[in-house]
Amino acid sequence: TLRLICTTTAVQKNNAGASGPEKYTEAFIKKQIEEFNLGKRHLANMMGEDPETFTQEDIDRAIAYLFPSGLFDKQARPMMKHPTEIFPEQRKIQWGEDGRPFHFLFYTGKQSYYSLMHETYEKLLNVQKHQDQLIAQDLPLQKEKRNLAGSRWLTKIELEEMLLEKLSDDDYSRFIQLLQKLVALPCADIEEKYIQKFSREVPVQLQKVVIEPLQYDERGVAFSTGEGKRKTARATAVVYDSGTGKITVNGIDILHYFPVLQDREQLLFPFQFLGRIGKHDMVCTVSGGGRSSQAGAIRLASAKALRSFVTEKEVEFMRQAGLLTVDPRVKERKKPGQEGPRRKFTWKKR
């Protein structure tokens, strides 16, 4: 009897990385969903709650109670979520048994992206044809302006999720340019439905912040408080409705606390903008930061306090003048291998 010594390549292990990320079959995902629902009911039973009305938050709380974990990374802790959230959405296999791909653009590599571009261009040509027809019949072109301010296009990440494909920045910008070109034409209302698939509504106005009502002092004077920060300075301001335009900082008059004109200008900026220079009194406390950041912090605090005294329109004007946003600029960190945040060490040839 001969013993097999030489082995053929068929016996050797397949290349592990060539097939890409692990692909899940539909049957597998369905089974996972069934198991999840069963497990949800068991868990509700264990916790003594009603299995019918057991929400995802209840599941999270139950798991955190039954399996306490001290790990810092929330993604590493035990979790029980619906299978669609755990297993990422994947494409089913794009080719049949004979190896022939289903989609005609499969060999471009980004088949859904290119097919999307083709569709959008088709709609554009449609709109142009319609426009030509209207011109030929001498009918007036529709000129209703879409509300551009209230909507935004899909972000790159959202588009990637929609197409289940990776896109590059260039591809994304080309798609957005094509959409804008489509929208710019006068008769684009025909393709309204198609365009709506790719636009999201922006929350109508940025006045999500609640304006607090005025509080009343022992003497009956109306006042309101505000907090502000800039770099490392933190300030709180109390604006009174009395009469003279006196401003006190940490118990000291502003002329003595801020000898520089620029800082005093910043303190008076919100009052001057609203035209209420002599009408309000202010007492503020500030700590941390330097002279200019303390002035900026007090400015923000006083602007926030003044919102309660003023109509909504004026609050919107203050926001558009940049008085109500927190300045996010902070000192940049020093990097290793460099002398400062940007300055590199002196270059020496040898």
């Binding site: 509300n147 551009l148 301010a149 209230g150 922006v202 929350p203 109508v204 106005q205 940025l206 520089v260 004109l261 620029q262 200008e265 910043q266 008076l268 900026f269 001057q272 903008f273 035209g275 200019s292 002035a295 900026g296 923000l300 919107e316 004007f317 926001r319 558009q320 003048a321 940049g322 008085l323 946003t325 927190v326 300045d327 996010p328 600029r329 902070v330 940049e332 960190r333 990097k335």
Partner: protein, 215 residues
């Protein structure tokens, strides 16, 4: 703290703040189409915080603040600002002297407002066309090139400051030197105007290479 590098701390969707009060006091009927669209856009987008140099008072002027920043050394804004205010004061004093000495018919032509003098002097100093080095076939040519508004203003201010710092007598104070330069520039005389004319002549002389520019 997350420290981003190489980009602005603000999201690109943030818009610049508008500080002038008059634009907000206009009733909605007087706005043009573009302004209406801008207002709607501003209502939806977030807005950056106003920088410490910007304020709605009558005394802030963007050109003056830019000039002060350029004069500043080692971050000493206090000193730069005081020098600037001393310069403006000196200009006012000199103009008032001239005003009181002048005969009746010339009193109206003398400009006393230092801000007007500053703006006019800057305008007179701005070059219209600039030169840029373009290398072709190993040789570097000086090619005449149009300049943007920002670049013109920057060059005018830079020339004024370098002129004052270097070519004057060591013992004179900066406000006096600047005041002299500004008044000379206002009357279209002085070394800065000469420098501008020299630049224009060079551009005219190198007119032949203008086709090297590809932008």
């Amino acid at each position: 703290r997350i420290m981003p590098v190489r980009w602005s701390r603000y999201n690109p969707s943030y818009l610049e703040p508008e500080v002038k009060k008059e634009l907000y006091e206009k009733p909605s009927e007087e706005l043009t189409e573009e302004e209406r669209e801008q207002m709607e856009l501003k209502a939806v987008r977030p807005i950056k915080a106003a920088p410490p140099t910007l304020s709605s008072s009558v005394f802030t002027d963007p050109m003056i603040s830019k000039f002060t920043n350029m004069m500043m050394k080692n971050g000493n804004k206090v000193l730069a600002r005081s020098l600037m205010s001393q310069t403006l004061e000196a200009i006012k004093r000199k103009q008032l002297e001239k005003y009181h000495k002048a005969p009746e018919n010339e009193k109206e032509t003398i400009e006393c407002n230092p801000y007007v003098i500053f703006h006019q002097a800057l305008k007179n100093c701005q070059p219209i066309i600039g030169l840029s080095n373009i290398t072709r076939g190993g040789k570097t040519y000086q090619v005449p090139v149009p300049l943007t508004d920002n670049r013109k203003r920057f060059l005018a201010m830079k020339w004024l400051i370098t002129e004052c710092r270097e070519n004057k007598h060591r013992r004179t104070m900066m406000p006096e030197k600047l005041c002299q330069e500004l008044l000379q520039a206002f009357n279209n005389e002085g070394p800065v105007i000469k420098k501008k004319h020299v630049l224009h002549k060079m551009a005219e002389a190198n007119r032949a290479y203008a086709h090297f520019r590809w932008w």
